[in-house]
């Protein structure tokens, strides 16, 4: 049994007359059937009878339904939003499952059996024993080019993706490069064009040949899709304008990491800024291991102190930071 966060597991309100993980078993079965279909046809969007969830549409209802359908008592759940465990929406969804499913939760990537995410793939590698569940606001990668659902489904069915390539051509003609920095479209298993959800294109290469099962749930649009482990995922590009990820000249100011996705933090109103890892667990672990970044000045030091102070009373964060010592 992996180490779990007992504080949230014992949260008040557990049970409350709702079924385990909120959804009734019939619904979960239906969703699991859709997930199986999605795994069998990688990248294909399977329509499913999405239910109303007690969180608003657009806030992760699709990911929550997928998580609710696959989660069991033995599971340990990690929830991240923008790479961080302690953003309000991540906290809220983690609370929801701690309350309705009484499962253990964690902030440690390697301890989680299920990670539900919005907008990031964790920096730490994942394994075959884990499942990554993405929250999907808009599953249809062709939607910005073709608003009609019927036509989009035909384009997928007939593998007519020339129009998508035209939009990349237009970017290069206009800007000299492909000007898509997130939701960067990918081909899955050389067959279906797929939206990787609004993760930064920085994370796209991680999806390729990924050991963990990747599941995608779009609640409002009522679609589920999947990438089975070790599937080929290719970001669209041109032979002479190959796909490239973002790079920073700076390193993480807190932990000194050189190859992570960095958030820009504004330090003052005169343009002062620094960069820190967007993956809060990854960054915290490195700091606990003794890695130190180049804090630019006293303002940044104050920021670091504030983050530490902010997180101290919060069991999750304190645990994450102290994890390296245990």
């Amino acid at each position: 049994m992996p180490q779990t966060d007992n504080q949230t597991a014992a949260a008040p309100g557990a049970g409350e007359g709702y079924n385990f993980a909120y959804l009734d078993e019939q619904t979960k079965r239906m969703i699991r059937r859709c997930i199986l279909k999605a795994v069998a046809v990688p990248g294909y969007q399977v329509p499913f009878g999405g239910r109303e969830m007690p969180l608003p549409y657009g806030w992760g209802t699709g990911g929550m339904q997928v998580t609710a359908s696959i989660i069991g008592l033995d599971d340990t759940l990690k929830v991240i939003d923008q790479g961080a465990d302690d953003t309000t929406n991540a906290v809220n969804i983690r609370r929801f499952f701690a309350r309705t499913a009484q499962v253990g939760t964690t902030e440690v990537t390697e301890e989680a059996s299920i990670i539900q995410t919005r907008h990031r793939v964790p920096e730490d590698p994942m394994t075959e024993d884990q499942i990554l569940v993405y929250q999907v606001p808009q599953p249809e990668p062709l939607r910005t080019l073709e608003p009609r659902e019927i036509e989009c489904r035909k384009m997928h069915a007939y593998k007519e993706y020339g129009l998508m390539q035209v939009s990349l051509y237009e970017d290069i003609a206009r800007f000299g490069e492909i000007a898509t920095s997130y939701s960067y479209p990918v081909m899955v298993n050389e067959r279906y064009l797929m939206s990787p959800t609004p993760i930064p294109k920085f994370d796209n290469p991680k999806m390729d040949d990924f050991p963990a099962l990747q599941l995608f749930g779009a609640g409002r649009e009522k679609r589920i899709y999947a990438i089975p482990p070790y599937t080929k995922v290719k970001s669209l590009d041109f032979d002479d304008h190959p796909f490239r990820v973002q790079q920073w000249e700076e390193d993480c100011a807190l932990c000194g990491a050189e190859e992570t996705f960095l958030d820009e933090v504004i330090l003052d109103d005169s343009g002062g800024k620094m960069y820190v890892c967007s993956d809060s667990h990854f960054c915290g672990r490195r700091r606990a291991e003794g890695h130190v970044g180049q804090l630019p000045d006293t303002a940044a030091a104050a920021y670091a102190a504030a983050v530490g102070a902010q997180e101290a009373p919060d069991g999750d964060a304190a645990q994450a930071q102290g994890e390296g010592e245990t």
Partner: protein, 259 residues
């Protein structure tokens, strides 16, 4: 008139909208390198016929067969929808009367020409772009406009771009619906010259629908005259226009040529 197998064979084609019969009992053959003009006044069923021939409107009756490169004469409506759509953007071209229907108005000229190449798998930006430049040059467009969207182009330029966009995959058969409609006379003349040159140079086969007999005389080898959905006269262009037999053709020719 030709021993070899035809490129397109049409047998007893009819199409009705509800109780309205738009075209009826049309049969003909088109051979490789031949340009067929379909003339008649508006409402005679020309455009419906063209839509049926170009796999965009399933006829109520009759058969349209095309000589596919890999399997010979094939009923195009027996093909699956993706096969038809593939044919339409590879071995065929369709030049619409209104460029808005045939172009992506918000995509650059280069992107418009390159789309067909990308649709069949081209993934080298430099090569796509140089192919687009070649074709824009062939239709006598200013290469400086390659990154501009056609919504800013004149009508004549839009029409030339539409032609380039269709020819980039080297199709064997082009369908054109009033290709010079709505253009000024001088612009029309230049476009017709261009079209005639391209058809000869590329040995294109084409079916051109027009109400303008001058266009027909300049471009078409053969003519089909339509009235009320039926073909009333066919023959070599010069023969039909200089010595019309059917009273309707006579009327059509005299009313135009008097002007």
């Amino acid at each position: 008139m030709n021993d070899t197998s035809p490129l397109l064979r049409v047998h007893n084609l009819s199409h009705a909208f509800g109780s309205l019969l738009a075209c009826a009992d049309i049969s003909f053959e088109l051979h490789s390198g031949e340009v067929l003009g379909v003339v008649g006044e508006s409402g005679s069923g020309k455009t419906t016929l063209l839509n049926c021939l170009s796999a965009r409107l399933m006829p109520t009756n009759g058969i349209v067969e095309y000589d596919l490169r890999d399997r010979g004469l094939t009923d195009i409506y027996a093909l699956s929808e993706p096969e038809r759509r593939f044919l339409l953007r590879t071995d065929w071209g369709v030049v619409m009367q209104n460029p808005r229907d045939g172009l992506r108005m918000n995509v650059s000229a280069g992107g418009n020409v390159g789309e067909r190449l990308m649709a069949v798998g081209a993934r080298h930006y430099g090569e796509i772009r140089s192919a687009a430049e070649d074709w824009l040059a062939k239709v006598e467009m200013d290469l400086g406009r390659i990154d501009d969207a056609p919504k800013h182009f004149s009508g004549g330029m839009q029409q030339r771009l539409q032609i380039a966009r269709n020819l980039v995959t080297k199709p064997r058969l082009i369908f054109m619906d009033e290709p010079t409609g709505g253009l000024d006379v001088s612009v029309q003349a230049r476009l017709l010259d261009l079209l005639r040159g391209l058809v000869r140079e590329l040995k294109l086969s084409a079916i051109i629908v027009t109400h303008d007999l001058a266009v027909a005389r300049l471009l078409a080898d053969r003519l089909m005259v339509m009235k009320d959905g039926r073909v009333v006269e066919t023959g070599l262009t010069d023969q039909v226009l200089d010595d019309p037999h059917h009273p309707y053709t006579q009327l059509l020719v005299s009313s135009v040529l008097q002007v």
